[in-house]
């Protein structure tokens, strides 16, 4: 696996898109910290950008990269190594490249302008979302033969998580406001990884006005620190579940 990882990473290191992604994040981050007079406000604005863009870029880039590498993956699959090692190496390399992009592009400005726990939590949240959406992207690329269909599906999944699911959750809360639905909000919010990332950041910043209902429920049920840990654990599950599904699909895949 590490051989596939190493050479995939070398290929990704020279990939123009990965470099462009890092520069875009650097530009946005420095721009926000320059524009806002309070670093916390800039960090919150940056969190909105990261929580929306990171999943989009991670899933679509992973899908496109894995489709473009399909013939090479086929060549790897006729070498004497297990398929799980091929996919493991490729996914890990994709995760590493995009995580480095986020760390350099958003991490450096964040730690330079606001070196505190909230910035670290935002970074952690962005890194976890990167891994979650690399796994989701890999699953989509493996399960669908056509590139256009795969990319389209990636966009639909992103749109569902970034916007539609939140709207549905809000509607549920509104429609059932007369009932004791708070205990249901914890698992329901965990079904959206982007929501989990947002909850982690807002629990750390502790701005009740911005926390939203699901964040407030997490705070009420678990307190700030435990709430972050529960959200982080749920994000780990979000990395593990699509990865496991992708590995299973890859083992059975016909090229």
């Amino acid at each position: 696996m590490w051989k596939v990882y190493k050479y995939t990473l070398i290929d990704l290191a020279r990939n123009k898109f990965v470099g462009g992604w890092m520069l875009l994040l650097l530009g946005i981050s420095f721009g926000l910290f320059q524009l806002e007079d309070q670093p916390v406000k800039a960090m919150l604005s940056l969190s909105q950008v990261l929580l929306a863009l990171v999943p989009l870029v991670a899933s679509v880039f992973s899908i496109v990269y894995l489709y473009d590498a399909m013939e090479f993956t086929e060549l790897l699959a006729v070498q004497p190594l297990r398929r799980s090692k091929i996919l493991g190496g490729q996914m890990l390399a994709l995760g590493t490249a995009l995580v480095i992009g986020v760390l350099a592009g958003a991490g450096i400005p964040l730690l330079a302008f606001l070196p505190d726990g909230a910035s670290l939590t935002l970074l952690l949240s962005a890194l976890m979302l990167t891994l979650v959406f690399v796994a989701i992207g890999a699953l989509i690329a493996i399960r669908n033969r056509e590139k256009a269909r795969g990319v389209g599906l990636g966009l639909v999944v992103w749109f569902l998580f970034v916007l539609v699911y939140d709207a549905v959750l809000l509607w549920v809360m509104f429609a059932f406001s007369d009932y004791p639905i708070e205990p249901w909000i914890v698992p329901l919010a965990a079904l959206d990884p982007i929501d989990l990332g947002r909850i982690m950041v807002l629990l750390k910043v502790d701005l009740s006005a911005m926390m939203g209902y699901s964040g407030a429920v997490y705070e009420k049920f678990f307190g700030n620190a435990t709430g972050i840990l529960v959200a982080l654990a749920a994000l780990f599950a979000w990395v593990a579940a699509p990865s496991a599904w992708a590995f299973k699909a890859f083992r059975r895949k016909d090229f």
Binding site: N15, L75, A77, V78
Partner: protein
């Protein structure tokens, strides 16, 4: 002893059988040309052998080892696909290093058959994304022949190659066969089939119509040229099939 054994191998996609009840035995030191119209099951058959496609029915053995989840048998297999694409940003030398590592061979970029003959040694620092289709085919040929495979699978190996490089690859096929390698080769070029094949496997609609030496096909049909003999053979086998009904 047979090198490759197909026993009742079939592959179904949904309701359609791409390959049905394929039975064949290939021995060391023979070259088998796998031919047939588009969609006849050639690629499916080859991909079943390589483990790229999971057979729905039957079993395949390579040197007695089953084709399955255990990838050990692939140490003995070389493969040159029809279309080669590699990571754009890697250099040819790095690709060869990777394959050497995966095969457990000592790294030696300039060693091995065809590296020098196809001029790949002069391109080791070139990025794979900058190569033409023909240059990619040369790299692919180098990798296929590199690890002295006992089974070599070539899918349209000369497609996209210039005539001199094509001849070098065909010579390499003759040499490796002489060393006891079993070569399975798909081609649409009848001259290539005539030049290389010890036996011809003709597939149609996923079914093996015949697996015979060219001389037998020529003798049975009375045609010296395979381009005439094979269609005549198909007509003969169809007639005898109808008569047997």
């Amino acid at each position: 002893m047979e090198r490759v054994i197909f026993e009742g191998v079939g592959k179904r996609y949904g309701r359609m059988w791409a390959l049905r009840e394929f039975n064949a035995r290939f021995v060391p030191g023979e070259t088998v040309s796998v031919i047939g119209p588009n969609g006849s099951g050639k690629t499916t058959m080859i991909k079943c052998l390589l483990g790229l496609v999971h057979a729905t029915t039957g079993a395949i053995r390579v040197n007695g080892q089953p084709v399955g989840p255990d990838p050990a048998y692939r140490h003995q297999v070389g493969y040159m696909p029809q279309i080669s694409r590699f990571p754009n940003e890697l250099k040819i030398g790095q690709l060869i290093d990777l394959m050497d590592d995966l095969r457990g061979h000592e790294r030696n970029r300039t060693g091995g058959p065809l590296v020098n003959a196809l001029g790949v040694d002069a391109m080791l620092d070139k990025r794979l994304g900058t190569l033409s289709g023909g240059q990619r085919q040369k790299v692919s040929a180098v990798l296929a022949f590199r690890y002295s495979p006992s089974v070599l699978v070539l899918d349209e190996p000369t497609a996209g190659l210039d005539p001199i490089s094509a001849e070098i690859v065909l010579d390499a096929v003759r040499n490796i066969k002489r060393d006891g390698c079993t070569v399975l080769i798909t081609s649409h070029l009848m001259e290539e089939v005539e030049a290389l094949a010890d036996r011809i496997a003709y597939l149609q609609d996923g079914t093996l119509r015949f697996l015979l030496p060219p001389e037998e096909i020529q003798a049975a049909t009375g045609h010296a040229r395979l381009s005439k003999a094979i269609p005549a053979m198909l007509t003969n086998t169809a007639k005898s099939h109808v008569e047997s009904l």
